[in-house]
C-alpha cells in the first residue's frame, strides 16, 4: 500500500530502491507501468501523463522493460522465441530480423548457445539473463527490475548482477528494487529508501549507506549488513 511517493528518475540514471519487505517497493514499480492500477496520483513518462485514461499503455509498456523476481519467461517458448514474440507482435518486426535481434540480445547476456533451450531447462540465473535479454531487445528507454535476484540460489546471483552492471555502464536508465547492497553501492546513482509506503529518504549511495538521516534507514541497513 503506497501512501504517496514522489520520485523523478532521469535519463541514464540508475536508481536503486531499498526497504523492508512490505514497504511498497514492488507495488511502486508495478504502478509505473500500471500492471497495478494506482488508485491515486499520476505517473509521467517522458512528459506524457500515462495515468491518463486515453493513453495506450501497450505503446508505453513497449518502451519500459520489466524484469520480475520469478523471471516469468514464456514457458512454452525457447529462449530465442521468448525474445522474438514481442519483437514480432508488438514491434511488427519481420521474423528474420527479430531472430537476428534475439540472438544478438542473447549474446549480450552470454547465452547465445541457449537460443533453442526452453526455460524449464535453464538454471534460474540463466532464465533471469534471458528475461533481461527479452527486455533489452525491445530497445526500451527504461528497464525496471523487481527483486531480480531474490529467487536465485546465492551462487547464481553474481551472473545476473554482472549483466545488470554492464547494462548500467551502457547508459541504460534503470529502476532496481533489490536487497543487493553491494550492487546498490557500486552501480546506483541514487538510492531510495522506502518504508511503509513512502519514500523515507533518498540520496547518493555513499550518503545513504554511511550516514542515513533516518533512524529506520539505519536499523534496516544495520540488520541487512549483519546478515
Amino acid at each position: 500500500m503506497l501512501k504517496g511517493v514522489n520520485l523523478s528518475v532521469y535519463k541514464g540514471e540508475v536508481v536503486v530502491v531499498i526497504g523492508p519487505s512490505g514497504s511498497g517497493k514492488s507495488t511502486f514499480l508495478r504502478c509505473l507501468n500500471r500492471l497495478t492500477e494506482p488508485t491515486k496520483g499520476d505517473v509521467f513518462f517522458e512528459g506524457v501523463k500515462i495515468t491518463a485514461p486515453d493513453v495506450d499503455m501497450n505503446v508505453i509498456r513497449a518502451e519500459i522493460g520489466m524484469v520480475f523476481q520469478s523471471f516469468n519467461l514464456f514457458l512454452h517458448l525457447t529462449a530465442k522465441k521468448n525474445i522474438m514474440l514481442a519483437l514480432t507482435k508488438v514491434k511488427g518486426m519481420e521474423v528474420e530480423d527479430a531472430e537476428k535481434k534475439s540472438v544478438e540480445a542473447l549474446e549480450r547476456v552470454g547465452l547465445a548457445d541457449k537460443a533453442d533451450t526452453y526455460p524449464g531447462q535453464l538454471s534460474g540465473g540463466q532464465q533471469q539473463r534471458v528475461a533481461i535479454a527479452r527486455a533489452v531487445a525491445m530497445n526500451p528507454k527504461l528497464i525496471m527490475f523487481d527483486e531480480p535476484t531474490s529467487a536465485l540460489d546465492p551462487e547464481l546471483i553474481g551472473e545476473v548482477l554482472d549483466v545488470m552492471k554492464s547494462l548500467a555502464k551502457g547508459g541504460m536508465t534503470m529502476i532496481v528494487v533489490t536487497h543487493e547492497m553491494g550492487f546498490a553501492r557500486e552501480v546506483a546513482d541514487r538510492v531510495v529508501f522506502m518504508d511503509h509506503g513512502i519514500v523515507l529518504e533518498e540520496g547518493a549511495p555513499a550518503e545513504i549507506f554511511t550516514s542515513p538521516a533516518h533512524e529506520r534507514t539505519k536499523t534496516f541497513l544495520a540488520r541487512l549488513l549483519k546478515e
Binding site: L35, F74, L75, L85, G120
Partner: protein, 221 residues
C-alpha cells in the same frame, strides 16, 4: 450362439459406427471452438461477457442432454427453425459439450501462472495477444487429460441421438435386435465397438500430450 448375425450385418454396423464417429468428431469440433470462446468469456474482465458465459455453462450443464436434443429437434420447428435429425443431433451434442469444455478451458487458463500474463502485458502485448500467444498455448497443453475424458464421454453420449432416429451405432443395434432378438450378442458387440473408439481416443490424446509437452516443464509423461 451364431455369430453370423454379426458378420452378416457388418456393413450395417459399419455404417452406424461411421455415423457415430462423424457425429462425435463434428460435435467435439463445435464444442471446442465454442468452449474456447466461453472459457475465455468465463475469465473475461467484461461483466456481461462473464455473465453470459456463466449462464450458458450452467444452463447446458444443468439440464439433460436428451432433453436438449428434443428441444432442438422437436422444439425449434415451432419457432420456425427446421433442422434435419442429423444436424439437430450434432448441434445438441456439440452445444452441450461446449459447456463442459468451457469449464475445462477456464480451469486450464487459470492454471497458467499469473506471471505469464503479466510478463506479456508488461512488454506491450494487448490482452488478446497475450491470451492467444502466451496463456492459451500453455492452457491447452495442461488440459489434454481432462479433455480426453470429455471426448470419451461425448462419444458415448452420442448414442442418445438415436432417440431422434439417427442411424448411428446404437440405433443400428436396436433395429437389428428387433429383427433377430439377440440382445446379448448384439449389444455386447455394440459395446465393444464403442470401446474401440474410446480407447483409440485415449491413445491418440496421449500422443497429443507427449507431442506438445514443453521440454523441462511439468512432470515427465
Amino acid at each position: 450362439m451364431a455369430f453370423e448375425l454379426i458378420t452378416d450385418n457388418l456393413g450395417f454396423f459399419a455404417k452406424g459406427a461411421i455415423l457415430t464417429l462423424e457425429i462425435s468428431l463434428s460435435a467435439i469440433a463445435i464444442g471446442f471452438v465454442l468452449g474456447i470462446l466461453m472459457g475465455l468469456g468465463r475469465v473475461s474482465r467484461i461483466l456481461p461477457v462473464r455473465l453470459l458465459s456463466t449462464g450458458y455453462v450452467e444452463a447446458l450443464r444443468g439440464t439433460p442432454l436428451l432433453v436438449q436434443i428434443f428441444i432442438i429437434y422437436f422444439g425449434l420447428p415451432s419457432i420456425g427453425i427446421y433442422l434435419s435429425p442429423l444436424v439437430s443431433g450434432i448441434l445438441a451434442v456439440g452445444l452441450n459439450s461446449a459447456a463442459y469444455q468451457a469449464e475445462i478451458i477456464r480451469g486450464g487458463i487459470q492454471s497458467v501462472p499469473k506471471g505469464q500474463l503479466e510478463a506479456a502485458r508488461s512488454i506491450g502485448m494487448t490482452y488478446t495477444q497475450s491470451m492467444r500467444h502466451v496463456v492459451l498455448p500453455q492452457a491447452l497443453r495442461l488440459i489434454v487429460p481432462p479433455m480426453t475424458n470429455e471426448f470419451i464421454t461425448l462419444i458415448k453420449d452420442s448414442s442418445l441421438v438415436s432417440a431422434i432416429g439417427i442411424w448411428e451405432l446404437t440405433l443400428v443395434g436396436k433395429e437389428l435386435n428387433a429383427k433377430y432378438f439377440e440382445p446379448f450378442q448384439i449389444f455386447i458387440f455394440i459395446a465393444i465397438v464403442y470401446f474401440i473408439m474410446t480407447y483409440a481416443t485415449s491413445k491418440i490424446m496421449r500422443r497429443v500430450e507427449k507431442r506438445f509437452k514443453i521440454p523441462g516443464y511439468g512432470a515427465e509423461a
